[in-house]
């Protein structure tokens, strides 16, 4: 049993990820369904998908300030942030807040 999720990158984040805005990934078996959390997912995304410098995506064990994480179209803060347990078919969005105008 593996977890297949959709990752989306928006607001400029896609430019840190090979300019891909959406990517379906099957997580490796080290991600145990029912217990694997976003805390494990972030470094995996960083190590496997990020094409730019790590500190543009993560700071410490969480995302860099200015990046908003959405779990199935809701702010991850509503879902437990790093403690959120990944479910099969979840959509996780990393979005950079824009300052321009």
């Amino acid at each position: 049993m593996t977890l297949t999720i959709t990752l989306e990158f928006s607001g400029g984040m896609e430019l840190l990820f090979n300019n891909e805005k959406s990517k379906q990934v099957t997580l490796p078996e080290t991600f145990t369904p029912g217990s694997a959390t976003l805390k494990e997912l972030l470094p995996w995304v960083r190590d496997n998908l990020l094409t730019e410098r790590a500190e543009l995506f993560m700071q410490g064990e969480t995302v860099r300030p200015g990046i908003l994480v959405l779990i199935n179209d809701a702010d991850w803060e509503l879902e437990g942030e790093l403690e959120y347990v990944i479910k099969d078919r979840d959509t996780i969005v990393f979005i950079s807040t824009l300052h321009g105008g």
Partner: protein
Amino acid sequence: DSGATTELTNAEIARFSRQLLMPEIGVQGQLKLRNISVLVVGCGGLGAPAIMYLAAAGIGRLGVVDYDVVEASNLQRQIIHDEPKVGMRKSESAKATVNRLSSFCDCTAYDMLLDSSNAMDLIKPWDIVVDATDNVATRYLLNDACVLLNKPLVSGSALRMDGQLTVYNYDGGPCYRCIFPKPPPAETESQYTSITFDFRICSTVPGIIGCLQALEVVKIAADIGAKFSQKLLIFDATFGSFRTIKLRGRSPACAVCGDEPTITELIDYVQFCGSGPSDKTPTQRI
């Protein structure tokens, strides 16, 4: 405020007929627009359509703020300015357009760079504030001032083919700091900016977001209710897709709007963010 108007004149009825006959707005709603005051900070890509549509819709008093001068490269998207105005102060140019659009709108231009020494005095007299700025330091400054003065903040942003819209400090919802307690780290910003082309922008994207900001202001002003408190609209012009996502609520731990705020007066936002409004991004690199 020297007494609110309680009746529309015949000229106002003729001018706003198409709108004030709408059940959602009506004569009472139009009077509310007439009696409200809105401060738009930034007369650039977002401010241009926001200011024009607010004036057109019948907002009685508009303040328009910018410290910059109209440049030719602005005209690709800032439709409130035009070629004869290149070199003019943006706030004065915006006011001149408003005056031409509507004699029903009393418009004041503020040619100034907002900072913690002047923001409270400037914002205090206005009912609603529109964030149409282009830098993170001014966004924190406006947020904190609006929380301290209890004003709704209609916030838009646009870059490349992306746009975002939300309303802060309104209807019990969160403020900017509730969502983003910390600014992006200054040491990685310049690299991030150069990778993400943070100075490039499609003409029509700020147009769409600025119009939506004007709509949210009209709905707050006419008491129809803004729909983007605790919600973020994300527009992707490449796909033509709009997505509305649910944001966290007001944070009791927020440094400015929380239960025990540590920020009770404005701070130094350039220091806080490690960059300021006048650190211009390169516009011409060819």
